[in-house]
Amino acid sequence: MPETQANALPARVSPLLAIEGDAIIDYKNLRLQERKSLTVIQVLAFANQHQAVATAISKELGIECAVSPGICNANEHTQVAWNGPNSWMIIASDEAAKRKSGALMKSLQKAVADTGAVVDQSHGRCALRLSGIHARKVMAKNTAIDLHPIAFGPGQCALTAVAHMSALVIQVDDSPSYDLLVARSLARSFVDAIEHACHEFA
């Protein structure tokens, strides 16, 4: 056995490592940035347990976990997004929540107990935030869903194709800002497509 290192985990390496700095796009009215080192947890309810799981999540996080589709409730460091029938995606910044890494996974497992499955997806998703007054136009170039304020607003989410890639879209505020969760392996292709759509607003 090798000697054990004193310090804990190595730093997480984002799939967008090659992109320097925080903001990928930083125009006057348009910004694309990566939200690094988030905890992303998928919770799936066992048969007839979706209400129980939702209640457990709500209680544990202090955020109402919606059972109806397309809703994402949040506080300043954690989002609870509907992620399909009987499934939710919990996206949290441990840093903002002053939590130890892995602590949320453990506490959710305990809260959900045998009513559902709690699956760590933290490293499987790349999280991006697209914001600014042109953000909706950039999204319209890449997704077919209706993002007009009448149809989609803050606190709403959708599982859809963005730039031909599967994504969880969450509207954060009406600036507008959108959080986009995509598969880690596709992160660079995804950013390429979004960047391309942004160029006309440079």
Partner: protein, 997 residues
């Protein structure tokens, strides 16, 4: 200032902004607001091109996107765009255009000789004239025909501009911003509906700009500008100008092209050339207007013969006089306006020739007041002139055989009536119907949420258009769930009633034979239609294909109804009996770039990269595409290293020492719940009920039809927690397969599952020294007793949490380490470091493939969607006492009978000769040229470093019982025949002792 034919005032052009452009190398001036066509006409240029087949001189016939003739090559170099209609090109400073389909010059074109040979070039000539000898078709005739006929030439360089796509939803889409469309949009928007209004022009207004109308006491042009301004100020309205709606698809989905940068020399930074919109309106109001039909007479294709409405448009929209001595020829009341507008613009109108015996009296009075001669009961029989119209011969429409009357002129404005633009209505699935009163097709019963209004519905009077727009906009908003109040009416002051008496084709002077063109872009003449009908091609669809009528880039916008009427006359039947052709998208030609959008070049398809991708790249690994993934195929150590050198080295390293491969691309599915064991037991053919915690098992899944679907391992992580791996290719299909059965067949099973492919980086460490390597970094006991073959355990690799599986694809002692992906590269580096002194190296998919062939592991090329477990030698795994997907269908007689292709090993018996993938396995009596007697084929080949010879896997009829037999592997494509020996597919360690060592 050389624009001799420009009026001093009027038109929607800006005379303070002159623009300079060149056509065929000569420089001209135009104004902002011009099209290329209007600017050329202002300069007296009428000859724009040569026709498709006969190379006849052609000019400008129309003023919009329906133009069949005036096609040019726009721009030069990489931005060159052939077959662009001069009538739709917005003029910009420095524009360069050239005529096409002529050599050596437009005025003197050698191929015009085709005109003399025209009797040989009748309808369907290429089916008849060039029949013999057969071999000449591809080698000789086709080349000649393609050279002679044709349009412009495409740019050979890559398009330097980009295209993009955009989506938008709305309540009401209004197609066209003429009087009806403007009213509809304002009306709907006033109800609060989300409105999109699209128009192909830069300026909204349509016919209000083309014509000399008055609305609400002001000029139509000004009224339109006011409405446009009103719309621009409403935040629930999106104006898409320079946008053509080209397609109406299912579920009210609409395709549109916005010409973002076609009116400037090159796109501004970040702007696309064109943008394709996919629109999702709840309701569609089609106010797309109507297209005028030309009269059909001899030489009606002469430059100088134009549509009556086009002549008005050139005068009113662009302040251009298309000629100096004009004849207006018509069969309806509408063209009288042309005479009046020409007169007001100062063009001498020699006469209005009305084919009807009794023209409308008020119109006759209007002409009389202007001292314009009206000739009733006559029409133009033929036009004459060289490269431009010089005179026309008038003939009687009443069967009188008097000598034709010659009238000198340089402009004919002709009208044979109007076709409502029913294209989108028809594309939406509806059937247009024939309306006798306007001698044209009008929209029929709607099939989708659309309505046609105004001229697009066959209402040609301005007041009707305004009223219908007002009502239709409100109705569409109401149907979309809005409540509100109707906007005020708008009133048109100067509108004449529309009347028509159809005249489909003019008699010719002295009954002589003339070329009477129907489809000018494809050079289809009235005589071609007669000939086709005589030869039996007398249904519309056959006629179209035989004569190519309506099959040019203009899709017969000005010609289809004329052709149909002539066919109907031939058949002696009324037009509705003969039918109409179906309109198909796109309404106008659409550049292919629009459909690709930004997904060209390296963005053609998204790429999936593993966490170790960057390291691989730095090592100079050569990648291979596996679905969307990029995987390291092999690692050259020097520039001279070949694929062969690398995979042999990497295989040897694995078999003799230890090596590592990135297997992150395998599908990974997390499965949890009380019923997982039973769920797996039904998905896989083998037993799953008694898999202990901390153990993995290999499994085979079948499709419902009994054919093998996928293979992989599933590991039991906890009491109700399992972890499945799939092949890279089937990661998504297996998940979908599980979802499907869980949701439809076994909802009672309490399981949940999700893909965790992305969460984990997988690294296989393989080789006799793999245990030794891992013992340097892993904190659990890896002895054979504590961690045997197919064991699983959670561990720490230095500080990184890892999942460790003792599974092997190479056939060697091997482990698979999974770590959370953000630590993937770190884990890879730590493993390399742990094995540095032992000389560990990475291996790619090529060595991986070599080793799996040596071990006889089946993979994608054997799991080809046709093979059963029995064919693959895996039937022994199946537990037939339980139920599983595909169990019964796998026992169908044809799947278990003799003659099945079964997996075999194959060895070359000819030293030094390598096997060929795809080669057929045939009896030695069969000749190389004939492989119809194929008994199977080679599915995967490699050079086996361990055996020192070429080996392969293949599928061979009854192969399992033919080990030891010799047979030929032939590849006729390579003219190759190799003697091979059939053997057991497992070449190395058949008892599997190494993996358990």
């Amino acid at each position: 200032m050389s624009q001799k034919f420009r009026c001093d005032e009027g038109g929607a052009i800006d005379r303070r902004k002159p623009l300079s452009f060149t056509f065929d190398g000569k420089t001209y001036q135009g104004y902002e607001g011009d099209t290329l066509a209007s600017a050329l006409l202002a300069n007296g240029v009428h000859l724009l091109g040569r026709s498709f087949k006969y190379h006849r001189p052609r000019g400008i016939m129309c003023a919009g996107s329906e133009e069949p003739n005036a096609m040019v090559e726009l721009r030069t170099g990489a931005r060159k765009e052939p077959n662009t209609r001069a009538t739709t090109i917005e003029l910009f400073d420095g524009l360069v255009a050239n005529s096409q389909n002529r050599w050596p010059s437009l005025r003197f074109d050698v191929m015009a000789v085709n005109n003399l040979f025209s009797p040989l070039l009748s309808a369907g000539f290429y089916y008849k004239t060039f029949m013999w000898p057969v071999s000449f078709w591809t080698n000789v005739y086709e080349h000649i025909i393609r050279r002679a006929a044709g349009l412009g030439t495409a740019a050979t360089e890559a398009d330097p501009d980009f295209y993009e796509q955009c989506h938008e939803h709305c309540d009401v889409l209004v197609v066209g911003a003429g009087p009806a469309g403007l009213m509809a949009a304002i009306s709907a928007a006033n109800y609060g509906a989300r409105v999109i209004i699209a128009d192909e022009h830069a300026q909204l207004g349509g016919s209000l700009i083309n014509e000399n109308f008055n609305v609400d006491g002001i000029s139509g042009k000004d009224w339109a500008a006011r409405q446009a301004q009103k719309l621009a100020g409403m935040n629930n309205v999106h104006i898409l100008n320079r946008t053509t709606i080209f397609g109406y698809y299912d579920h009210n989905t609409i395709g549109a092209i916005e010409k973002v940068s076609d009116h400037v020399p090159q796109p501004a930074a970040g702007k696309p050339r064109q943008r394709m919109w996919t629109l999702y309106p709840k309701r569609v109001v089609i106010a797309a207007g109507a297209t005028e039909r030309p009269l059909i007479f001899g030489n009606n294709d002469k430059p100088g013969v134009m549509l009556a409405s086009a002549v008005r448009t050139y005068i009113n929209r662009w302040g251009v006089k298309p000629g100096s001595r004009a004849i207006v020829a018509t069969n309806n009341s509408d063209a009288y306006r042309t005479a009046i507008d020409l007169h007001q613009a100062g063009v001498r109108v020699v006469a209005v020739v009305d084919s009807r015996m009794h023209p409308d009296a008020p119109l006759a009075a209007k002409l009389d007041a202007l001292s314009i001669e009206l000739i009733a009961g006559k029409t133009i029989g033929a036009a004459e002139g060289g490269q431009h119209l010089r005179y026309v011969q008038l003939v009687s429409t009443q069967g009188l055989t008097a000598d034709p009357q010659r009238i000198d002129c340089d402009l004919v404005a002709s009208s044979s009536g109007w076709n409502p633009n029913v294209h989108l209505h028809s594309q939406s699935g509806a059937k247009p119907i024939y309306d006798e009163t306007i001698a044209s097709f009008v929209p029929g019963q709607s099939r989708q949420a659309e309505v046609s209004i105004g001229a697009a519905k066959g209402s040609f009077e301005l007041q009707d258009c305004l009223d219908q727009g007002r009502a239709a906009g409100a109705e569409a908003a109401k149907l979309s769930g809005f409540k509100g109040r109707l906007i005020k009416t708008a009133s048109a002051s100067d509108d004449d009633a529309y009347s028509i008496e159809a005249l489909w084709i003019a008699p010719t002077p002295y009954n002589k034979s003339y070329k009477q063109f129907i489809d000018q872009q494809n050079d289809v003449k009235a005589s071609d239609i007669d000939l086709a009908a005589r030869e039996g091609y007398d249904s519309v669809e056959l006629l179209k294909r035989y004569t190519t009528q309506g099959m040019a880039t203009d899709q017969g916008k000005t010609s289809n109804v004329n052709a149909l009427a002539i066919l109907a006359a031939q058949r002696g039947e009324p037009i509705p009996e003969v039918g109409t052709t179906t309109f198909r998208p796109p309404y106008v030609p659409v550049a292919m770039g629009n459909f690709a959008g930004h997904t060209v070049g390296y963005q053609f398809m998204p790429v999936r990269r593993t966490a170790i991708h960057d390291w691989n790249e730095k090592q100079g690994a050569v990648f291979i595409e596996a679905g969307m993934w990029l995987r390291a195929r092999y690692y050259p150590q020097s520039p001279e290293d070949t694929l062969y050198d690398c995979y042999v080295r990497e295989t040897n390293a694995t078999r003799s020492n230890v090596a590592m491969v990135d297997v992150s691309t395998l599908g990974k599915i997390d499965i949890q719940g009380p019923d997982v064991a039973e769920f797996l037991n039904r998905l896989y053919i083998n037993n799953w009920l008694k898999l202990p915690i901390g153990r993995a098992r290999y499994g085979i899944m079948l499709r419902e039809d009994g054919v093998v679907f996928d293979d992989g391992t599933t590991t039991r992580l906890g009491e109700n927690h399992y972890f499945m791996t799939t092949t890279t290719a089937n990661a998504a299909p297996v998940l979908a397969h599980m979802e499907y059965y869980h949701q439809t067949a076994w909802p009672e099973l309490d399981v949940v599952f999700c893909s965790v492919t992305e969460q984990w980086t997988g690294i296989a460490v393989a080789g006799p020294n793999s245990r030794k390597l891992l013992e340097n970094v892993i904190d659990i006991d890896l002895s054979n007793e504590a961690f045997p073959f197919m064991a699983y355990g959670e561990c720490k690799m230095n500080n990184i949490s890892a999942r460790l599986f003792r599974i092997s694809f190479s056939g060697e002692l091997a482990y698979e380490v999974n770590v959370a992906a953000d630590y993937g590269e770190q884990a890879w580096l730590e493993l390399l470091e742990a094995g540095r002194e032992m000389g560990v190296s990475p291996y790619g998919t090529e060595a991986l493939g070599t080793m799996r062939i040596e071990k006889g592991h089946v993979a994608g090329s054997e799991l080809d969607g046709r093979t059963t477990a029995l064919d693959l030698g895996l039937e022994g795994m199946a537990n037939r006492s339980k139920h599983f997907i595909g169990k019964h269908n796998s026992q169908r007689p044809a799947l278990i009978g003799d003659g099945r292709l079964q997996v075999v090993g194959i060895k070359s018996v000819e030293a030094g000769r390598n096997l060929r993938i795809g080669a057929h396995l045939v009896d030695d009596k069969v000749k190389l040229e004939s492989v119809s007697q194929s008994q199977g084929h080679i599915t995967a080949i490699t050079f086996s470093p361990s055996l020192g010879c070429g080996i392969a896997l293949g599928l061979l009829q009854d192969g399992a019982s033919r080990h030891g037999e010799q047979i030929d592997a032939v590849s006729p494509l390579h003219d190759e025949k190799i003697r091979v020996e059939i053997c057991h597919p497992i070449f190395i360690d058949p008892k599997g002792e190494l993996v358990r060592a």
